[in-house]
């Protein structure tokens, strides 16, 4: 159990969550966050809300960036693995086209 005191307000909790997202938590703070998430369902709820907003903002920011510049697509990994999959009998022309 960590020696750090439990955050008392929502803003203090959000500050702790924010540090995790910026990879600025030290080991004691990481332990505190783990303890809080394990023991308190309302803190888990707040954490999920925080993550949902963070991810949503990242998504919106990404859309703004992609409007101005082309970006890499993580589906490219499939292009690398598709050749190992038995697709010869596929009725989908897009799949047949990818078979090498």
């Amino acid at each position: 159990m960590t020696n750090l005191s439990k955050p008392q307000t929502k803003l203090e909790l959000l500050a702790l969550f924010g540090k995790s997202r910026d990879e600025e938590l030290d080991l004691d703070q990481t332990e505190l966050l783990n303890d809080l998430l394990i023991s308190d369902s309302s803190i888990r709820g707040l954490y999920r809300g925080f993550i949902a907003i963070e991810s949503g903002l990242e998504e919106i920011a990404k859309i703004q960036i992609s409007k101005s510049a082309p970006t890499n697509n993580d589906m490219s990994i499939i292009e690398d693995t598709i050749v190992e999959i038995p697709v010869a009998e596929s009725s989908d022309p897009a799949v047949r086209k990818n078979k090498k």
């Binding site: 997202r21 990242e58 990994i77 038995p86 989908d92």
Partner: protein, 176 residues
């Protein structure tokens, strides 16, 4: 017995893209490092495609994908815990997972719509700061430097804006 695959690449891509925002949110909720989080995303999509024939039905795609993600994230957390690195513990992941699994069916689009609405209610300056902050690899520290604020002021501002957004989204979702 037919050898024709039940799932085409095109179908897989569409199904994955529809699940991607929620999948990313789940993985990012457990893995603090943005870079590691993206690596795990890549692993998950690669494994899912390799094992796609094991998917029982198209309707099961999202829970199946999240099952793969949970396994990969659990491996990551276990590895990091052994190294005493900064990451959520496997126990914290289990606690979060049990509740995440319940909300997997909720629409990510409706959350994004609510978030856009709530964002538009903030001042243009605050909208700009929030969206700059959420570009890849941007931290509070960078925003503080750019705006000429102290780090603690920037952190307080961000947390206040998050709290406002949460309250607003909760209100919208509670009314829908």
């Amino acid at each position: 017995m037919s050898n024709v695959p039940r799932y085409t690449q095109k179908w897989f891509e569409q199904a994955y893209l529809a699940s991607r925002p929620k999948l990313r949110a789940f993985i990012r909720s457990v893995i603090f490092s943005a870079e590691d989080s993206e690596d795990v995303m890549q692993e998950v999509v690669s494994i899912a495609w390799e094992k796609i024939e094991k998917l029982q039905s198209k309707e099961q795609f999202q829970p199946w994908l999240f099952g793969i993600a949970k396994n990969r994230v659990m491996k990551y957390c276990t590895k990091m815990a052994k190294r005493k690195s900064r990451s959520l513990s496997p126990e914290a992941l289990e606690a979060l997972w049990s509740e995440h699994a319940i909300t997997v069916g909720a629409s990510q689009e409706s959350l994004l719509d609510a978030l856009r609405t709530c964002l538009s209610k903030l001042s243009p300056e605050h909208q700009k700061i929030l969206l700059e902050r959420h570009q890849p690899n941007v931290t509070n520290r960078m925003i503080a430097r750019e705006k000429g604020y102290s780090e603690s002021k920037t952190s307080r501002l961000m947390n206040t804006l998050y709290a406002e957004l949460m309250k607003c989204i909760h209100k919208i979702q509670g009314n829908s």
